[in-house]
Every structure is written in C-alpha cells, then in structure tokens.
C-alpha cells in the first residue's frame, strides 16, 4: 500500500543488481586477453622488442614535475623508439589507494607493461598481483614495492650510493667542526625515502662523520608549502642546526627558498636531491653549495626499455639477465630483480649551467 512505490523501486534496483551479477559470471579465462602475446602485432625478431606494446606510466602523482620529466621526456621517447604506445596516468595526490584504482583500470584496458612508482610498498601489492595474473608485466621505478608484486625494479642509483653522496655533501658543506643535522623527507611511507634514510643513518656511524649528529627527520609530503613550513619548523625547534639534507626535489627546493630569504642563509648548510633548474639560483647565491641527482629522463627511458624487454620475452627478471636500453646501452639485472641506472651526479657552481631540466 503506502510502501508499494518504494518497494517497487527497491525491487527494480535489486533485479537490476541480480541481472548484472548474473552477467558477471566469471569464466576461468576471465577478462580480455593480455600477456606477452596480447599487445603485439608483429612477432619479435631475436633480441628486439616487439612493436605495438602498450606501456603505461603510473607515477606517484601526476602533477609532479619530476615525474613529468621522467615519464614524458624519458619514457615517452623510449616507447616511441621501439614502436609501442605510451600513456601516463595517475592520481593527483600521492595516495596509495588512488593508485590502486588506476592499476585496476590499466589492467582492464589490457596494458602490457605497467611502470609504477609506489606510494606505499604494501598497499598496492594486491592490485599489482591481480594485474600480473591478467598478463601484465610490472616494472617499478623510483620507489619500489615488495619484490614479489613486481617483475623488475629500476633503481635510479644504489641506495648506498645515494646515502654516501648525501652524507659526504652535507659533511663538506657543514665543515670540519660538524654539528647537528636534520633530514627533510617526502612522505613517511615512501619506500625509496625510507631506504635512503636508513642507509644514511648507517653511513653516519662511520668514524669520519663522528661530529655530525642527526637530530630530526621531518616530512614535507612532497608538497611545496608543507616542505617550506617544515624547514621553518626545523630551524625554530633546533636552534643549533647546522645542516639540512632533503633527498627529494620538492623538499630541497622549498628548503632552499626558505633559507635564502631568511636570516639563516649561509649559516645553515643545505644539500639534497634536486633538479638544476630549480636549484640554480640557490647554488649561485650560496644557499646550497652542492646537491646531487641523476637524470630523471634517463630513469623513465630505462624503465620503458626494461618493460618492453620483459613483455617481449627477452628477459624474465631473474638475476643475470641482460638487455639493451636504446642509447643508454646494456644493463644487467641484479639481485632481487633490481636494475641500477648509475651513480648519483653532483651539481655545484662549476657545472650547473650545463644542464637544463
């Protein structure tokens, strides 16, 4: 009677849902055919990457200039070279649950290779495993997941190499008297950040760095504003701070900007991982003596080639596999499926004008 209209509505909705779920019968094949044979049109000649592969880049967040360089100036170029089709997609904020949604979408679209920089080493594993079961190859770059969820990890530089370089740079900048130092990191769960910080702490225990004391680690979440304010907070909370290490391009740029406009310019040393374009004026005005990085475009380039090689069956990701990455040359897969791009490169006043990225 009086509830009939509502009941009718509920019944319609329920019927609809049931109809949909009955259509959602899962046959054992499942989904659209993907896998090493799915994307290609031509078969692979021995040693070359198949053409027509679908490669998708999924960075931590899309509105980040570092990933804009690595994906669009590196990955896209590489994919064009071996005749694949390139897309870049991802969330606008660096959140793992948003990345899961995109992984699911890419898997449904039959992507052959997903190149992802993980916001959290565990949270996206489930989605990646499901994508793998549908035939996609997973390559992580910049920030890794648990090794069992991916096929290869393209590491921009070895963890120890980065840590050594950062500690050496801050030690040189602070001077032989030593003092208190702090780290301004990105997000607290970023795999790469935590690996580097742990290695830096180990490096600090060496006798030559006995005068350096790490007093705080703060997180700027890879947001310019927050990093700026965290740098400010560090200096207020630790009056004797002598140096800041910020192993993230957003963080080091924000810290440099704060220091150079404050009374601490030149008194508190700064180093980190930064891009030449952002750091140029601060190197020249003395806020930052030297910093390190690699070429993010090379990272994306290598990741694309690695993914292409995987999807073409040229390598399987086990230790010892070798493949060629276009103009970068030959690379060998190391332990745990890790491929190393190279060593970090130090930028300072003498060479910073030679670069444009």
């Amino acid at each position: 009677m009086k509830v009939s209209a509502r009941v009718a509505g509920t019944a319609v909705l329920a019927a609809l849902t049931l109809a949909l779920t009955s259509c959602a019968d899962d046959s054992t094949g499942g989904g659209t055919p993907t896998g090493t044979n799915g994307g290609g049109s031509s078969s692979a000649a021995a040693g070359t990457i198949k053409s027509g592969l679908k490669i998708a880049f999924l960075p931590k967040q899309v509105n980040n200039p570092y990933f804009d360089t690595s994906d669009n100036k590196g990955g896209k170029v590489a994919v064009g070279e071996f005749g694949g089709s390139y897309t870049e997609t991802g969330p606008s904020e660096a959140s793992p649950s948003a990345q899961v949604s995109y992984i699911n979408t890419l898997s449904q679209q039959g992507t052959d290779v997903i190149v992802v920089s993980a916001n959290d080493k565990d949270a996206i594993c489930g989605a990646l495993t499901e994508a793998k079961s549908q035939g996609a190859k997973i390559v992580t770059y910049d920030s890794d997941t648990k090794p069992e969820c991916r096929d290869l990890f393209i590491n921009q530089a070895s963890t120890e190499g980065i840590a050594k370089s950062q500690i050496k740079l801050i030690s040189d900048a602070v001077g032989p008297a030593g003092g208190e130092i702090a780290i301004l990191s990105a997000t607290a769960n970023a795999t790469n950040q935590n690996a580097w910080i742990a290695a830096m702490k180990t490096e600090l225990q060496k006798p030559e760095y006995a005068k350096l004391k790490l007093v705080a680690t703060v997180y700027g979440d890879d947001q310019d504003e927050k990093s700026f304010q965290e740098a400010q907070g560090l200096l207020q909370a630790h009056p004797n701070l002598k140096g800041i290490i910020s192993p993230t391009t957003v963080g080091v740029a924000a810290a440099a900007r704060y220091l150079s406009g404050s009374a601490y310019k030149g008194k508190v040393a700064l180093t980190g991982l930064g891009t030449p374009n952002q750091m140029r004026q601060y190197v020249k005005d003395g806020t930052c003596q030297a910093f390190a990085l690699w070429n993010p475009a090379d990272l994306g380039y290598l990741a694309a080639y690695a993914g292409g090689a995987l999807a073409s069956g040229l390598i399987t990701g086990k230790e010892g596999d070798t493949f060629t990455a276009g103009k970068l040359g030959k690379f060998t897969v190391g332990a745990n499926g890790e491929v190393l791009l190279g060593d970090p490169f130090t930028f300072d006043k003498s060479n910073i004008d030679q670069f444009d990225f």
């Binding site: 990933f67 207020q236 009056p239 406009g261 404050s262």
Partner: protein, 342 residues
C-alpha cells in the same frame, strides 16, 4: 516609574551582548599571548626577529582567507571553495609572470582579485538565485575549480626562478620589521571590519545571519547581500592566492589544497558563530593567528607535531561549545529583560 527599569534592562542586555563579543575576541588574544609566552620561556628563540617574521607571514594568508570566510559565515552560509580559488589564482599569477615578465605587480594583484571575485560570483549566483544551500554548492565548486586548475596546469610548475624579483621580494621584505604581506592582511582586515560595522549593508549581513526570513520581510535584499558576501570571499581568496605566489615562489596546481578546514577552523575559533549573525572579522583574524602560532609552537614545546591536527579539532569543538554557552546566556538575559517589560 514602572517603565523606567525596562529600557535600562534592555540597554543593559545589549551592552552585555556587546561586551561578550569583545570579551570573546579578548579571550582569543589572551590565549595567543599566553601561548607565545609559554613557548618563549621554553625557547627564547621563538621571539627572534626571524621567527616573528615567519609567524606573521604564515598567519597572513590564513587571516585574509578567514576574513572573507567570516563575511560569508556571518550570513549563515559557508564557502568551502576558497582553497581551490586560491590555487587557481596562485597558478594564474605564476603563469602571468612567467609568460609576461614585465607585468606590473599591481596588475597581477588586480587580476588575482578579479579571478577570485568571478569565482565568488559563480558561488553567490547559484546560492542566491537557485536558493540552494551554500554547503552543497561550495562543495561542488571546490571540486570543479580544483579540477579546472589541474586541467590548466597539467603537471606544470612555475618555479621561483621564473618570477620577477620584485614580486618575490614582496614575500620577504619588511617595513620596520613587519612583513609587507602582513600589512596587506591588516589593511584588508581594517577595511572589512569598517564596512561590516559602519555601513548599513554590512550591518544587514548580521541581520541576514540572525534570521533570514525576518531580514527578508523587513526589506533587506537578502539575495543581493549574500551574493556580495560570496563575491567578497572569492575576491579575498584571489588576493590570498597572489600573495601565496609571492611568499612561496614555486606554484603548482596543488596550492591551497585542503586549506578549507583550516579557514573554517580559524573562523570558528575566532568567535564567528557557525549559525551566523554574530562575530567579527577581527576575531577571525585572531583565530588565524592563534592556529598558525600553535602549529609553530608545538615543535618548539617538544610536543609531537602530530598532536597539532587533534589540537585544532579540539579547539574547534571548544570554541563552538563556548559560543553556545554565551549565546544561551545572552538569550536568557534578553528574555529576562523583555519578560519584566511585559
């Protein structure tokens, strides 16, 4: 003889109400002073010139946003899209300077305010014309403006190196130790406070917030006033965006993300009742200063900075509770006066 006590009592109730308002703002000022004192005792560097400069700079943008929000909240509405408007104008400023390096700063300021006012007009138009609740509309425009910002920016970022030096120095220069940006906030505050107190259209905003139906019936053009309030809020958010670009230098599409909560918190803590009809922009600015200081003071006091968010939430709850107690007491006083009159 019988009638004389009544006006005295009514006047007494009105002065009581006004005294309460002042007491509310004084209360926040007192809390602020107490916090600064305690923190300085713990670490004298907290009151160093650099530190004060940082505090004032940090509070400036929030204070400007809070001023605009207060105007809207007084009319019993809310504007959740201010963060997105700030983001759009900050990025617009960056792009303007990057593509046309010779632009005078005044032009950039006007452009930012203009864009903000336009956004506010969209909000105000929807709310006044379609008579839809502000919460929903500004929630929607929060999404829409931010989405437009992202689409326009497409991952780009304007670096501090691309901005003219004169503009960036706005963010760091001081006059007699007071940062130039803070002077902007003070000017905005004084103008807004003056209009709200001394102009009829300003007073009418309070009437609309107290009882919109009564206001409409007594001839106040409610739709037009609410529209103007949202335009003002948008314009101030636009100004805040330009100043944000000056302060931080590097702008991308994420500027101002999530700042709506802080703005509403500043306004509520500052004594502007969320139910409308009372409060002042001075209180809102004080609330902004208090929240900013808490953020800086916590690490100095050695309290885990993770408590800051919880502290802000607890403050909002305390402020709302206090407002409620005061409102009940005022109503009782007013009722007591009138009852005796009859």
């Amino acid at each position: 003889m019988i009638t004389t006590p009544a006006p005295v009592r009514a006047r007494g109730a009105a002065t009581f109400a006004r005294r309460l308002l002042v007491a509310r703002e004084l209360g926040i000022a007192l809390a602020l002073a107490l916090l600064v004192a305690v923190t300085t005792i713990r670490n004298p560097r907290f009151l160093s010139a650099q530190s004060i400069k940082d505090l004032l700079l940090g509070a400036t943008i929030l204070a400007i946003l809070a001023t605009g929000q207060a105007i809207v909240v007084i009319t019993r509405n809310v504007d959740l899209s201010v963060g997105s408007v700030l983001g759009v104008t900050a990025f617009a400023t960056g792009v303007l300077f990057k593509d046309h390096p010779g632009t005078p700063i005044v032009l950039a300021l006007l452009a930012g305010i203009g864009i903000g006012a336009l956004a506010g007009a969209v909000n105000g138009g929807l709310i006044a014309a379609a008579q839809v609740p502000a919460l929903v509309v500004t929630l929607g425009t929060l999404y829409v403006f931010r989405g437009l910002d992202y689409t326009w920016a497409t991952g780009r970022q304007v670096n501090a190196a691309d901005m003219p030096h004169g503009f960036l120095s706005l963010g760091t220069r001081t006059i007699l130790g007071v940062p130039v940006l803070a002077l902007f906030a003070v000017a905005v505050l004084l103008i807004a406070g003056f209009v709200l107190r001394s102009y009829r259209s300003g007073r009418e905003l309070y009437a609309i917030g107290s009882d919109p139906d009564a206001a409409r019936l007594s001839g106040i053009p409610v739709g037009r006033r609410v529209f103007a309030a949202f335009v003002a809020s948008g314009a101030l958010a636009g100004l805040a965006g330009v100043l944000h670009a000056a302060r931080f230098g590097t702008v991308d599409a994420n500027a101002g993300l999530g700042s709506e909560l802080n703005v509403v918190a500043a306004v509520v803590v500052g004594g502007v009742a969320i139910f409308g009809g009372s409060g002042s922009v001075y209180g809102a600015a004080l609330g902004a200063a208090l929240l900013t200081t808490i953020g800086s003071a916590l690490p100095v006091l050695g309290i885990d900075p993770f408590w800051q968010r919880a502290a802000v939430g607890a403050l909002i709850l305390a402020a709302i509770g206090l407002d409620r107690v005061l409102a009940v007491r005022t109503a009782r006083r007013l009722r007591g006066g009138r009852a005796r009159d009859a």
